[in-house]
Every structure is written in C-alpha cells, then in structure tokens.
Amino acid sequence: MPIHDQGYRRYGGQRAPRGRAWAVIAKAGIRTRLGQRAFLALLLLSWLPFLVRAVQLYAAANLPQAAFLAPTPGLFRQFLEQQGIFVFFLTVYGGAGLIAHDRRANALQIYLSKPVTRAEYVFGKLAILMAWLLLVTWVPAILLLAVQIAFAGNVEFFRGNLYLFPAITMFAFLEVITVSTAMLALSSLSTSSRYVGILYAALLFFSEALFGVLRLVAGNTRLSWISVPFDLNQVGDAIFRLPLRYDTPWPLSLAVLVLLVAVSGFVLERRVRGVEVIA
C-alpha cells in the first residue's frame, strides 16, 4: 500500500455562496485574453489617442502659444467618438468568440451542469467584453478629465462643466452595453467566431450605407435611426449638450438602442441552453 494514496478523496472544505459564478467566468475570460499578445497590442494601441489628448491638455495649460487648444466639453465627446474605431475592433476581436467558441466546444452543457444559471453565464460573458470596452472608453475619458485638472492646476473647467463626468459615464455605458449585448447575441447564433465578426461588421456597414442612400433620396437625415452607430452619435450629442447632427429626435435613437438591447436579450435567452433542441 502506498504511503500516500493519490486516489480520489472526498472534499471537506468550504464552498462559496451561489451567485458568484459570473465573476469566475469574467475573471477567466479576462485572464485568457491577457495572455494573447495581439490583443494586448490592440489594447495599447487604443490608448494612443489618450496620450495625444493628454499632450494637447498639457500644451493648452502650459504654453501660451497653444491657447487655441484649450479644452471644451466637445473635446471629450470627440475623444469618445474617436475611440469608436477601437470599440469596433475590440468588440469583434474580443467578443465574437465569447459564446460561439463555447457552442463549438459544447461547453454550455459543462457550464450549465454546474450551479450556474443562464443569466450568470451571460452576465459573466458580458462582463468580459464590457470590461475591455470600458477600458478604452470610460476609463481614458475620465482619466483625461483628471489629467486636465492636474495640468491646469485648478478645477475651474471641471466646475464649469460639472455635467461632463455623468455625461461621459452615461455615454460610455450606453455605447458599451449596446455593443456588447448585440455582439453577444450574434455570438450565440453561430459556432464560428469568424462568421460572427463578419456578420457584425456587415450589419454596421450595411445600416450606415443604407442610411447614406436614404439620405440622398429623402434629402434629409430623419432616417438616421436605422443605423446603430448614428443612433449612438445622436444620443451622444444629446448627452453632451451639443447640437444634434441628424434630424431624428434623439429619444427615437435612444428607443432604437433600447430595442436592440432587448432583442439581444431575447436572442440570448433562446440560445443559451444546456441542450439545443431542434424540433
């Protein structure tokens, strides 16, 4: 008989209370991506605009010749809009496979055979994508606000534009939640992340192109609500108290975004199951 039996032993330790599985899923997903150099490179690249804006704020605060670079509320709106390109690439790269890969590997029945609810699974996956997207939108925008205060050496600009903090937060979360739920829903529809990525890009570009055509035909921009990126622009302008760029009422654009989130939730509810039933 061996001195120490390496066979199966019963477990007598503590077990975590239920309801934390989403955090386990999110943590594992984030750790997996952090191990990928290409993804890290994309993340670093997405912080370049922040550096440029920080230099701009430094110059405006310290060089009299650069007074024309003085910050305005529009600067933060522009920054978040510029980050849209990185939001797109991160969504495709980091989000397309979130559920598609699990479906390909039949992992859903592993997840759901554990004490994990479908909502926890979806929320865990959502948290992964949201974490990355907030890292390139909300975090740098808020940091930019802090950098402005630090370089200016006073809080005059911040005090004069107190709405900026909630505006940045509202817009960043609206964008991230909309984009993340839509991508997650698309990811649940296929087992191929490549196909999901292409589908996501096609939907965005097609809706933008369709709006471009309709704009020419109708001679106005009242139909901008058919394109999600334009809906985000419209609502973003309203949140930042800037002149609206399209004729569509911003509540309509917001309603479209809310509807998209609701439809994505419905798709996820239908697709995330332990057993795929083809009746």
Partner: protein, 311 residues
C-alpha cells in the same frame, strides 16, 4: 436525505422535443451506489439525465434528486451532482488543469482548493502527466477522462455518466470502467451510468434500469434480475427447408422466450422446470433436428433482450 430515500426518483415523467416524445410517463427510482441506465440508442437515457439536471423541462410529472425537487432546487442539485456529457465537451483555450480547476470554481470551490483538487483528480483519472496540455490536443480517450475529471472535481454526491466509454480503445475502456467501479464501490460516490453496452453496466453497477422507447422496461438489482425464474438453454436446430422462423414462432407460441446471438445459436428462456423436454417436444412437432442443446446461466443480456424485446 434519509438513507431509505432513493438518490433519484421520477414520477410519471414525460419529456418531448417538439412532436417527438423522448420519455413516456416514466416512473423509476435509483437507489444509492452504482446504477446502470441501460437501453438501445434513442431509448431516452440521455434525455433522462438532462432532465435530472434541469436542462429539459418535463411536460408532465416531477423528479427528485438527492431528496431535492428538480423544478424547485436545480442549482442546489447541480452543486451536488457531477455530469459527464456524452458528446465531446470542454472549455476552449484552456489546458487540462486550468479547465478542471475552473469547473471546480464554477461549482463553488475556492480557487486554491479548486486548483489542488484539479491536480488530484487529473492524477486519479490518469491524466497527471498530460495536465498542462491544451484539452483541444487530447485524443478521444483523454477527452473522456477529462470529462470525468471535471465532473468529479467538486466532489459530487451523485455522478451522472453518459456513455463514458464512447470512442475509447479496449485498454482505455477497461481503465475507465475500473475508475467508475472504484468510484461507485470504494469511494462512496453514487453514480448513474448511462450506456447501451451491457458489459459496461454489468461490470460497474449493482442495479440497472433498462429503458426502451422512452419507457422503463425493467429495473432492479442486477443479481436479482439474473435470478433464474426458469431455465436458459443454448439451442441450435436444423429445420426442414430452412424454416427457422416457423420454429421460432412455435417456441414463442408455447410461451418460450427466444433471442438470437451473434452465432447461429439461439438462447431460449423456458419458464418453470422440465425445459429440455419441452424443447425436444416442440422440435419434434416442427420436425426440426436439435443439433446443440446446452443449459446456460442467465446473463444481463437475457434480461436486456427480454426487456426490450430483441429477437
């Protein structure tokens, strides 16, 4: 849960996938220890296991697992149950030890304990040396083992094993059956082994529930089901004009159960005593020559064949 209460109980459970009925009014109970869930493909075994986990909601009836109602406490049940699915399943992009530890954490184990148990369980299932390899590079047999490891990592009170030897080579199959037998008999883990392979169930389990076409055909302790309630004979006959079907028809008309085997010998179950005399009498009446007649011992194959009506 009182000792006398079954580990799993189903009462009038029916499950349908659209128009296809997978389970028909099933009432069954699974005692503690190792229980085999036996049946041909499409009998409803996997559906039953999935229903017990709450993956599929029954259209009628109710189920209890470890004394808990499946409809009311699915999460509590899943925290005490380990499930090894039939199909290839893993979390993509992870090596074996990370995958198993992750499953442990999902089941509620603290990260350090989950990692420690992942190492232990991987050694137990025979993947100790390959535990740092990506699961996607595993062979079919190794994938079966890793599925067992993820089902075991949180130390379940009940294991649901769905065709655990699927796709394994003979050596790997024997090792897997040895593991299952050890878990059920030496490690105090209750288990339900779903299989269409009689030898697997006979080797690892003490009790069996035989399913056919979505219903329970027979259930009970294997030893008791194999108890002779008559005599079993191996029989080979030569009939006039090769009319073997008529001879089998006569056997059945006389109340004898008759099943073909892989060879040209049939197994005939004769209720009561004086079986050989009755067989000779029927053969004489049918003008068939008895070429081979040997008393045999009832096996689980006979129980299975009798239950599912195989000819």
């Amino acid at each position: 849960m009182p000792d006398s209460e079954p580990v799993v109980a189903l009462v009038n459970v029916s499950v349908a996938y659209g128009a296809t009925v997978a389970l028909r009014d099933v009432t069954a109970s699974f005692a503690g220890g190792a229980v085999g869930l036996l049946g041909p493909n499409g009998a409803g075994k996997s559906t039953m296991l999935r229903s017990l986990l709450g993956f599929v909601a029954p259209t009628t009836g109710h189920m209890r697992v470890l004394g808990l109602d499946v409809a009311k406490s699915p999460l509590e049940i899943r925290s005490r149950v380990g499930y090894m699915p039939e199909s290839d399943a893993h979390i993509p992009g992870m090596n074996a030890v990370t995958f198993v530890a992750y499953c442990g954490e999902l089941a509620g184990l603290p990260p350090v304990d989950a990692m420690q148990r992942a190492h232990e369980v991987l050694f137990y299932v025979g993947l100790g040396e390959a535990r740092y390899r990506n699961v996607e590079t595993y062979s079919t047999g190794m994938k079966q083992r890793i599925k067992l490891a993820q089902a075991l990592v949180h130390d379940p009170d009940l294991l649901l094993l769905d065709e655990p030897t699927n796709g394994m080579d003979p050596k790997g199959r024997d090792e897997m059956l040895e593991l299952v037998r050890d878990l059920g008999h030496n490690k105090g883990v209750n288990l339900i082994l779903s299989s269409h392979l009689l030898p697997d169930v006979e080797y690892t389990c003490d009790q069996v529930v035989v399913m056919d076409k979505g219903s329970v055909a027979v259930n009970g302790p294997i030893a008791s089901l194999k108890q002779p309630r008559g005599q079993v004979f191996e029989l080979r006959v030569k009939t006039r004009g090769a009319n073997i079907e008529a001879f089998i028809g006569s056997l059945r008309a006389a109340g004898l159960d008759c099943h073909a085997t892989d060879e040209d010998v049939m197994r005939v179950f004769v209720p009561g005593a004086d079986g050989a005399r009755r067989l000779f009498a029927i053969a004489a009446a049918e003008q068939a020559q008895v070429r081979h007649l040997r008393p045999s011992v009832p096996t689980l194959d006979d129980v299975f064949a009798s239950a599912v009506g195989e000819a």
